[in-house]
């Protein structure tokens, strides 16, 4: 629909100026224009890029109609099965589809991570398509995802904002009614950023006034640090804290000791 508007605005600009979606279209044209221009100067495949931007939206639309529209509606208006996607932006789409949460396999307490169903290009197409239907948070710039921020600030922000659900070590935790906060190890920086920005499932939104992009980058830096730094104390037992430590000492610690006592008091044959 917006792509139609975009094409219409391309044809006769004055006729569609007061159209409700004109702003969106203008924005899209602007984005595509700058993106295209950027590509023009950086890439050798100039003609293909600008053509593919158009094609991307179209392809995204087709993918959406085939895979998402059943629950989210053909016009993204939402149904009883799923929420509206107007205004969720590229970031939400990229997160949900890019982590395999969408399309959902079954309805349940929350969408679970599963093998990603689409290729990188298809995910990009879907994201561009959804973004084209209404403005929303965009996919974060690479500069925030490098993991080169302030690690101690990130750690503190993580403890204050994230640890109550995700556990201080990012090992995950339980929420009500079968919902849960997933473990964060191995999640890509882009997806972490998008999750903070869009608040998927039961997660609250941490918008840019709440946690600035730099602070989000710090949190990502800390998560990367946790991922990449080996545990100094040895095996972490799942970073679950005293519960796994207690089980370990009872089963393996005391188990070993009891085995030894049995051995010591065994009568030689």
């Amino acid at each position: 629909m917006a792509s139609k508007a975009a094409r219409a605005s391309g044809g006769s600009r004055s006729a569609g100026r007061r159209h409700p979606l004109a702003t969106v279209a203008l924005l899209l044209v602007g984005l595509l224009g700058t993106g295209g221009a950027y590509a023009l100067f950086t890439s050798s495949a100039t003609a293909e890029t600008s053509a593919s931007a158009e094609a991307l939206v179209e392809e995204g639309g087709k993918l959406f109609a085939a895979n998402c529209a059943t629950c989210h509606g053909l016009d993204l208006q939402g149904t009883t099965q799923g929420p509206t996607l107007i205004g969720v932006g590229a970031a939400a789409t990229d997160f949900q589809v890019g982590t395999g949460r969408m399309p959902m396999a079954i309805t349940g307490p929350q969408a679970e991570v599963k093998p990603v169903q689409f290729t990188e290009e298809q995910i990009q197409a879907l994201s561009v398509f959804v973004a084209a239907q209404g403005p929303g948070p965009a996919i974060p710039a690479d500069m925030y995802l490098t993991g080169k921020g302030d690690v101690s600030n990130g750690a503190e922000l993580f403890r204050i904002n994230c640890a109550m659900c995700h556990n201080v070590a990012g090992a995950g935790g339980a929420l009500t009614e079968g919902k849960y906060a997933p473990a964060l190890s191995g999640v890509t920086s882009k997806h972490v950023y998008e999750a903070m920005l869009t608040g998927p499932q039961n997660m609250p939104v941490f918008n840019d006034t709440n946690l600035t992009p730099e602070e989000k980058a710090d949190v990502i830096t800390y998560l990367k640090y946790l991922d990449e730094t080996p545990s100094v104390g040895g095996f972490t037992l799942g970073s679950l804290g005293p519960v796994s430590e207690g089980l370990f000492i009872w089963i393996f610690g005391l188990g070993a000791i009891v085995a030894i006592t049995v051995w010591l008091t065994a009568k030689s044959n």
């Binding site: 307490p109 935790g173 339980a174 640090y225 040895g234 970073s239 005293p242 430590e245 000492i249 008091t265």
Partner: protein, 538 residues
């Protein structure tokens, strides 16, 4: 052990002469030989379950050694500092000196992290081995006269060990320990009338204050260890005085102890066992991380991590709090009555009181004033074993409830479902466990009786000359049978009028308790029955 007379005849070497002279010198001045004779001749029967108390003792020694190392570097102060050590994610962060010194021990002091982990793992093992030791003593009836007092001292040690553990857990002033203290603070404040006063006294003002770490430190390194060492001393003294229990066996009676004496065999064995326990703890501590305070970060009253639990031995109390249904709170006489706190406190208080006084309760019910030195096989005291199983179930449910969130995430359940199941299990689990255990015990006793009288089924079918088929039963040897038949037979107490010819309420209560205890029982096989069965088989 008898000394060999041939040795005396041989001339003594210089070493032997020196040892003799030194021993004489010391004995003349301390009269220690009597003590050595008494303690050195203490007999330890060989059974693996008799070594669990030793494990507790040895892990306590490991705790003392590693703890002493930690006191050299730990700073029990809540003065605010900015961390400048080598752990990058906490650099520049404001924290207490206690937390900063714990981080220094972990990252900047050679061997510090290993010592911390040895200390903490040993503490977990200490309490766990005490728990298992108590279960052994309970289920074998080794708490009966004359050992009731030693049971009580052991119970006090268990409580002290938990107190030691909790104070130690709270010292690093990290997020986890601060959250733990906050829960304790909440529980204290939930006690009507005096709660708030006690909390302010404990924390030196409003929580968290700046005093609690140094106060807990004094308790942790001085007062509690001193009491524990004294209690261990009395515990072991009584152990020597009471002699060791043993399982029934040929030659083992209520009046002797069969096993090896402390000197020299057992002492050597025990010394070796100490190093094995130390080795196991060190192996665990060097390969498995425990309480990574750097991940938790410094305490700050606002954040609480998901999966915040106390160390395992406090888990049952945490579980009790988690299982209280919502809304148990009311206002009477202008005071808030937090039954969500009071109820768990009362229930846990009752539970541990029953544990502490169980030997006296059972002695009153059974009316048994005899000394018992032969350990019961659990099946031969069905009601006691069933009560124990119920208690274990009750404790286990509370314990599991403390990890309700982790059970929910790891088994893909809803946390409400886990909590409601635990609530139901807390009430019905012990009842079910009681009846199942009692029936299983009686069943096993019946089986023992059958085997003692008729022997094992050999599986060999023989046809007799007149055509009858019989299965040949393999008879037990006298040694094997001994274990099966030697246990005390009890009968419910009779109600008898007292001197005034009255039957008091206490007597009725006691008689009905006794009936409950011994109503279902399998009498041990008598000698007469054995003779009779022999006649039948021959």
């Amino acid at each position: 052990m008898t000394t060999t007379p041939t040795q005396d005849a041989q001339p003594k070497t210089r070493g032997q002469r020196f040892t003799g002279a030194a021993a004489n010198y010391i004995d003349e001045r301390t009269s220690i030989s009597g003590l050595v004779k008494e303690v050195g001749r203490k007999i330890f029967p060989d059974h693996w379950s008799f070594m669990l108390g030793e494990v507790a003792l040895y892990s306590f020694i490991v705790i003392l050694l590693s703890g002493t190392f930690l006191t050299f570097f730990f700073e029990a102060s809540m003065v605010e500092v900015h961390y400048e050590g080598s752990y990058a994610p906490l650099k520049g962060i404001e924290m207490s000196a206690a937390m900063a010194s714990t981080l220094d021990i972990s990252f900047d002091i050679r061997g510090g992290l290993l010592m911390r982990q040895v200390h903490h793992w040993a503490a977990l093992l200490f309490v766990a081995s005490i728990g298992l030791h108590m279960l052994r003593v309970y289920f074998t009836g080794a708490f009966r006269k004359p050992r009731e007092i030693n049971w009580f001292i052991g119970f006090v040690l268990f409580v002290l060990a938990m107190a030691e553990g909790f104070t130690g857990y709270s010292l690093p002033d990290d997020l986890l320990s601060g959250n733990g203290l906050r829960i304790i603070d909440g529980m204290v404040k939930g006690i009507p009338v005096i709660g708030t006063w006690i909390s302010y006294l404990l924390f030196g003002g409003e929580f968290p204050g700046i005093d609690i770490v140094s106060r807990l430190y004094i308790l942790h390194i001085m007062l509690l260890p001193a009491i524990i060492i004294a209690a261990i001393g009395i515990h072991m003294l009584l152990l020597v005085i009471n002699k060791h229990t043993q399982f029934a066996g040929p030659g083992r009676t209520n009046d002797n102890v069969v096993g090896s004496p402390v000197m020299p065999g057992f002492a050597a064995k025990a010394g070796g066992f100490f190093f094995i326990v130390f080795g196991v703890i060190t192996l665990i501590a060097s390969t498995f991380s425990i309480n990574p305070v750097w991940v938790y970060g410094p305490y700050d009253p606002s954040p609480v991590s998901a999966g915040t639990q106390p160390d395992w031995y406090i888990g049952f109390a945490d579980g009790a709090l988690r299982l209280v249904p919502p809304g148990w709170e009311t206002e009477w006489f202008g005071f808030t009555w937090s039954f969500n706190i009071i109820a768990p406190l009362v229930i846990l208080g009752l539970f541990i009181a029953i544990v502490a006084f169980y030997p006296f309760i059972e002695a009153w019910i059974t009316g048994d004033k005899r000394e018992h030195h032969i350990a019961d096989r659990p099946r031969n005291a069905p009601t006691r074993t069933a009560i124990g199983a119920a208690g274990v179930t009750f404790y286990a449910v509370l314990w599991a409830a403390a990890s309700s969130d982790l059970i929910a995430t790891h088994f893909k359940l809803s946390i409400e479902g886990v909590i409601h199941s635990c609530q139901a299990l807390l009430i019905f689990g012990p009842i079910i466990a009681y009846f199942i255990t009692k029936r299983v015990c009686l069943g096993l006793q019946k089986k023992d009786r059958e085997i003692a009288l008729h022997g094992y089924e050999s599986g060999r079918i023989v046809r007799l000359p007149h055509g009858e088929y019989i299965e040949v039963h393999e008879q037990l040897s006298e040694y094997e049978r001994w274990k099966l038949v030697s246990y005390t037979d009890y009968k419910p107490l009779m109600i008898r009028p007292n001197d005034q010819g009255r039957i008091t309420f206490g007597q009725r209560l006691r008689a009905s308790a006794s009936r409950w205890f011994f109503e279902d029982r399998i009498a041990p096989v008598s000698q007469q029955e054995i003779e009779q069965s022999k006649d039948e088989h021959h």
